[in-house]
Symmetry: C5
Subunit: 81 residues, 5 copies
């Protein structure tokens, strides 16, 4: 899993059917890269989270048919940059 | 998912049977790398999109037998570089 | 597999159901990047370990339903940086 | 998919049984990295091609049991560096 | 597949059950990164090899249940750095 920070929500009205209405977050990686993840835990902006990728990202969703490749799977209790 | 910008269409006449007649787009990543994705949403050139990779890229296609590893899965409503 | 060093434990109370109570470790890659892995071998802090990623990370867990994408799969007997 | 250029053939006599007699090509990525791909389209040296990776690489082969992780899936009609 | 050089053997006594007694090699990538691969071909130290990753790494093993994510799948006949 990777350690990232929640930066923003992402509005994406026009999407493939397979993403359904999944909630999306913009994350910032440690290297400063912006990525988009599905968020089943409801992570607030500014929080440090761990993400899982690949096929595990789908399995981490309540609905495993959402075709994500990156999912927030936990909020870290204590993390300083 | 990654955030990329649609740069161009890609013409590729000689291709493996498994790609069928899938529509291909040249995308530019945030780091300036050029990649090729299948496009089931009809993303116009210049638009910012989110892409899903790996096995999820196939599941995001209407026909899951297209053997892509990168698919545009949504057009971002508002994005400034 | 990659060669990493165990840096710390990671406390993550709020997590997706699929991670269950899996023990998490913060690892440092050779390039100095911090990653989070599930740990079925009980690797002590400071030790050099090998990690497996992707779907293999799940198969390396005693419970293959844990939705990790990185698992410590061995402790290296002798390694100097 | 990634955009790469065919640089050479690769001779590899001693190989795992699962690679069978698959034809191998040395490719150069945009960043100048050399990679090896299976080639079901017969891409000539010097041509720009698109490649698919991961499990899609196997599905792009006529024989899906070839255990490649990178396959040339098309020859680009027109590409200038 | 990637092109790497065999650098050393790796001794790893304490390992997950799923790695069984698989023979491990330390490889050096073209960029100088050290990785660990399972070796079903018996590649001697110093040789240039090709490796396959992801789920293909398991399929390249005689026993597909070994949970590796990187396997040496061939020894290159002729390669100069």
């Amino acid at each position: 899993m990777e350690i990232m920070r929640v930066k923003d929500e992402l509005v994406c009205t026009r999407r493939v059917e397979g993403l359904k209405a999944a909630s999306l977050r913009v994350l910032e990686s440690q290297a400063g890269k912006l990525l988009v993840a599905t968020d089943p835990v409801g992570a607030p902006i500014g929080k440090w989270v761990i993400t899982t990728s690949g096929s595990a990202a789908r399995l981490a969703m309540p609905d495993v048919k959402i075709m994500t490749d990156l999912t927030i799977c936990g909020i870290i209790d204590n993390w300083s940059e």
